[in-house]
């Protein structure tokens, strides 16, 4: 389509929309906040994947990060839940209308602190949704206290030091069998947009733990969640390519150095290994990698683990993909005869 567009007219995607039409309201975050960068990548990915915006269900909790669902795809509905409890709300919505595409945005406090319990159970259920953690190691909206992903020993501007170990959300997710686990950095836009596209094409929970510096409260030099630190320490484990289902895929790649993963919708993820013989489909390797990274405090980014064929919560629950909310009343309202039968049995 885009080829046939007027020279002057802005390019449109396969559903005839411009990238602008995937935008949202104006951000009220601090200038330079990592979250705004991620918002742009989400917008871009939705556009490039030609997702009908009205099918997008934007889910979030409470926090600066959670606010960002208002800043993209305002042609889709959004639900800003209570703090730390977005997974439950998303689960309910997707179980009655799987035709929605749930894009969840949360923060490290919203997910790892108050939200740890729901996070664990969302992963265990493999609820179909993209779950993005905009991870800055602090509670931005409440003015910069440490969250549960702050690294041990890291220091606030106020001098307060965090003594507790960080929760590694990716490791937890892999352990709980999540089928798409990635770590990225808001500064690495190319990688991030590729990972987002893969996540949008994945069926089941796709977790993206994205380091997203808080410029106001946690971007100083003694911080391990600052732009500076992340830029200096990021080690991508792969170069990530995404080939949508509607595109030809070239078969010419060297199996040794490149891994090709087909997703349930026929899209492919191409991983050019930067780490010799790391197999992103091997759970044990993935766990070991996280473990190693924790010990060496390495900042490894990329698609840490992928298992595209896992059943999602709908399949596990034996539900059809035909949304319950759009069924005709006749299908969910039993006839008189059903009631009579029951009454008979109670006489």
């Amino acid at each position: 389509m885009s080829s046939t567009a007027e020279p002057k007219a802005p390019p449109v995607n396969r559903v005839g929309l411009t990238v602008k039409e995937y935008g949202g309201s104006k951000s009220t975050l601090c200038v330079g906040c990592g979250h705004d960068v991620i918002t742009r990548q989400i917008t871009q990915a939705l556009y490039e994947m030609s997702i009908p915006p009205y099918k997008v269900a934007k889910m979030s909790g409470i926090g600066c990060s959670s606010k960002t669902t208002a800043y993209f795809a305002d042609r889709g509905h959004g639900f800003n839940a209570v703090h730390g409890r977005m997974p439950a709300v998303a689960t309910g919505a997707m179980m009655v209308n799987p035709s929605l595409l749930a894009v969840g945005v949360s923060g490290d406090g919203d997910t790892a602190s108050i939200g740890a319990g729901q996070f664990v159970h969302m992963l265990r259920r493999n609820v179909p949704m993209v779950y993005i953690v905009e991870n800055n190691g602090v509670y931005g909206l409440t003015k910069g206290q440490f969250s549960a992903t702050a690294d041990a020993g890291s220091k606030l501007k106020t001098g307060v030091v965090n003594d507790l170990p960080a929760i590694d959300l990716c490791a937890i997710a892999i352990e709980l069998g999540c089928g798409y686990v990635a770590r990225s950095f808001s500064g690495d836009m190319k990688q991030l947009v590729a990972l987002l596209k893969g996540a949008l094409a994945h069926r089941g929970t796709a977790l993206l733990d994205v380091i997203s510096p808080c410029v106001t409260f946690n971007n100083h030099d003694s911080s391990t969640k600052s732009y500076k630190w992340a830029k200096e320490h990021e080690i991508p484990i792969q170069e990530i390519g995404f080939i949508p289902f509607y595109e030809e895929i070239s078969v010419d790649y060297e199996p040794g150095t490149t891994q090709d993963i087909e997703l349930h919708d026929g899209s492919h993820i191409r991983l050019r290994k930067l780490r010799a013989d790391y197999d992103a489909t091997n759970k044990a390797q993935a766990l070991a990698l996280c473990q190693e990274a924790q010990e060496k405090t390495e900042f490894l980014t990329g698609l840490l683990y992928v298992e595209p064929t896992k059943k999602d919560f709908l399949e596990l629950s034996g539900l059809s993909r035909d949304p319950i909310v759009t069924m005709p009343e006749t299908k969910f309202r039993p006839p008189k005869k059903a009631l009579d039968e029951i009454m008979e049995s109670l006489k």
């Binding site: 689960t91 309910g92 919505a93 009655v96 159970h121 629950s317 319950i324 969910f332 006489k347």
Partner: protein, 616 residues
């Protein structure tokens, strides 16, 4: 034929006047000992003889070995409330035997295991020692089955003693064991054994017995939770999230059972009810709000502790205006309290659930029929008012056995509320009101219109749901006027609800000066109390609340009487307080009767309360 035998024996019995079809049988056992089937068989058989019955199970909060009591009340007049006096006691639990005997009414019949030697305890009751252990050895060869079979022996003894027809017992047994031949046979053998032993060895000396009548034809016996489950299913519930908790688990579980049979897509065979066993109640309500927001009829069921955990999400549902049905099978609180005892203790906290200014619609079923019908009402109200609606049942209503007429099918169209489902509906709305503004009160009733995610492919259709400040267009705001306008509209919406909630059930116009106001499971005891008071010459009018917010009938009823007694099954007189706030002005004619020991309310308590009040 046993009844024949009975006749003669009775002729021998002493002069005390016979008590027919109007007494309680109290069976004391330990839980997990399998006595439940025996008790059901007894109750069923009496019921099949056309005699009105109700069955109450008083069980401990553990799984096996602690004292349990099952009370079968037969009442020719159809009274079903708990009754303090016990006519027939069946003593199977050594642990409680002594206290059990001490508490029965003089003249009661006491069936007990011989070896317990209880007959020395009192001389104003009639003892029937039975060698249950010896008998079971003779009657049942398989050792494993004896623990259960021993309970069948007392069924036989009771049948003989009280004149329960064996034919009906056989029917009941067949029903109980879904006519599994083997089970039926061995249990019938034990029952017959008990009966025959009693015929040979006992002489009827007490006054209690059953005689066939015709008051139960066509009726059903059901627990309130099963009734609510049926109501939810018939209402077309599409999503259930729940977390197990006594006494509400059985509601979810029977809904799941029924749905497995009656809620499968005729074409695909796929379930049309989506069920999630959540990780806790907090998550359960979160899921329900997600499903309700997405357009489903969604519910959860819980008890007090769950209600507490739902406080924050309930506030979100109220303020963001998302439909949800929450069933509270109330038990004794606060905290863990007594999980297996009944109470109406969550009224105040649920009515105001959430921090900040919030008020919720509460439905107050007073019978198993209403557990069924109000479950349906709850979904209509939740979708009509786009808010959490609470169905306030309790353990007594929910987990005990009640007789009822078969539930009527409702072909009333579902009220799905103000939803714009299609592009056409949206365009029409916009044509009429210029734009779609999620929280604008275009109709003047405080209820705005809503759209559903993923339904309409049009920019104008979407909005952003949030628990933080929002204006009519659902955009973020911190403006004082926006906030106030929105809260005032919510108050207006609550006003509108008054003309939609179930009206109270009023029986007045008798010219009585004394009124009674009660709700929920108190109805049975109150009705019985009114009867007895009437005979004592104290006429009373009665208003049974069926919902909050209150409706004008209630204020009128209070105005029309000199003294109005409000019956609460809680310590703090929770409904009494809400009523005082409702009528305002002079509240002194309202008086509070409170029952809160965990047992179901009984008529005596109500009578004592009113008589005490009428003295001063």
């Amino acid at each position: 034929m046993s009844t024949a035998v009975l006749e003669e024996k009775h002729s021998e019995s002493p002069s005390q006047p016979p008590v027919i079809n109007d007494f309680s049988i109290h069976v004391a056992t330990a839980n997990g000992s399998g006595s439940m089937s025996s008790n059901n068989i007894l109750m069923r058989a009496i019921f099949q003889m056309g005699i009105p019955v109700s069955g109450k199970n008083l069980f401990p909060s553990n799984i096996q070995g602690l004292p349990t009591w099952f009370t079968i009340r037969a009442s020719k007049d159809g009274f079903v409330a708990r009754r303090r006096d016990v006519g027939v006691l069946i003593c199977m639990n050594p642990e409680t035997a002594h206290e059990d005997v001490r508490t029965v009414t003089p003249g009661a019949a006491v069936i007990y295991e011989e070896s317990l030697k209880l007959d020395t305890l009192r001389n104003d009751v009639i003892f029937y020692p039975v060698p249950f252990q010896k008998l079971v050895l003779e009657l049942v060869s398989d050792g494993k089955l004896r623990r259960l079979a021993v309970n069948m022996i007392y069924v036989g003894v009771a049948a003989w003693l009280l004149g329960i027809e064996m034919a009906e017992i056989e029917k009941a047994v067949a029903r109980q064991f879904k006519s599994k031949a083997a089970a039926v046979e061995i249990n019938m053998k034990a029952i017959r054994g008990g009966l025959e032993w009693a015929e040979k060895n006992l002489a009827k000396r007490d006054a209690f017995r059953f005689e066939r009548m015709n008051a139960t034809a066509g009726k059903i016996i059901i627990e309130g939770n099963a009734a609510s489950a049926i109501g939810c299913m018939m209402a077309g519930v599409q999503f259930l999230a729940w977390y197990p908790i006594t006494p509400s688990s059985s509601l979810a579980e029977s809904l799941i059972d029924y749905a497995g049979k009656y809620r499968l897509d005729p074409e695909t065979g796929a379930p049309t009810l989506s069920v999630v066993q959540a990780e806790d109640e907090l998550a359960a309500l979160g899921m329900v709000l997600g499903a309700g927001w997405a357009g489903a009829r969604a519910m959860t069921t819980t008890s007090g502790p769950g209600i507490s955990l739902m406080a924050e999400f309930t506030g979100l549902g109220y303020y963001a205006e998302v439909p949800a049905v929450i069933v509270d099978i109330q038990r004794v609180g606060p905290s863990t309290g007594l999980p297996t005892r009944t109470m109406q203790g969550d009224i105040t906290s649920t009515y105001n659930l959430s921090h900040g200014d919030a008020r919720h619609i509460l439905l107050l079923p007073g019978s198993v029929q209403e557990c069924y019908s109000m479950a349906m009402d709850a979904f209509d109200l939740a979708e009509r008012f786009q808010t959490p609606v609470f169905l306030m049942s309790d353990l007594d209503l929910g987990m005990n056995n009640w007789m009822a007429d078969p539930f009527p099918f409702s072909d009333r169209p579902l009220d799905r509320g103000k939803v714009l489902r299609t592009k056409e509906e949206l365009d029409a709305h916009i044509a009429k009101f210029k734009e779609f503004a999620r929280y604008r009160d275009v109709d003047g009733d405080g209820i705005p219109w809503r759209t559903l995610p993923g339904f309409i492919d049009a920019p104008a259709a979407t909005y952003f749901t949030r628990g933080s400040g929002h204006n009519e267009r659902a955009t973020y705001t911190e403006r004082p006027d926006d906030y106030k306008n929105n809260m005032d509209r919510l108050a207006r919406k609550f006003e509108t609800a008054k003309s939609y909630v179930p009206r109270p059930a009023v029986s007045d116009g008798t010219g009585a000066r004394v009124g009674i106001i009660a709700y929920g499971s108190s109805d049975f005891a109150v009705e019985e109390a009114r009867g007895l008071l009437g005979r004592k010459g104290l006429a009373t009018d009665y208003l049974r609340l069926r919902a909050l917010p209150f409706t004008p009938e209630t204020t009128a009823f209070i105005a029309a009487h000199d003294r109005v007694y409000v019956v609460d099954q809680n310590r703090d007189g929770q409904m009494y307080d809400l009523l005082r706030l409702e009528i305002g002005g002079d509240t002194s004619k309202l008086r509070s009767i409170r029952h809160y020991d965990g047992f179901p309310l009984d008529a005596e308590t109500v009578i004592e309360g009113i008589e005490a009040g009428e003295k001063n």
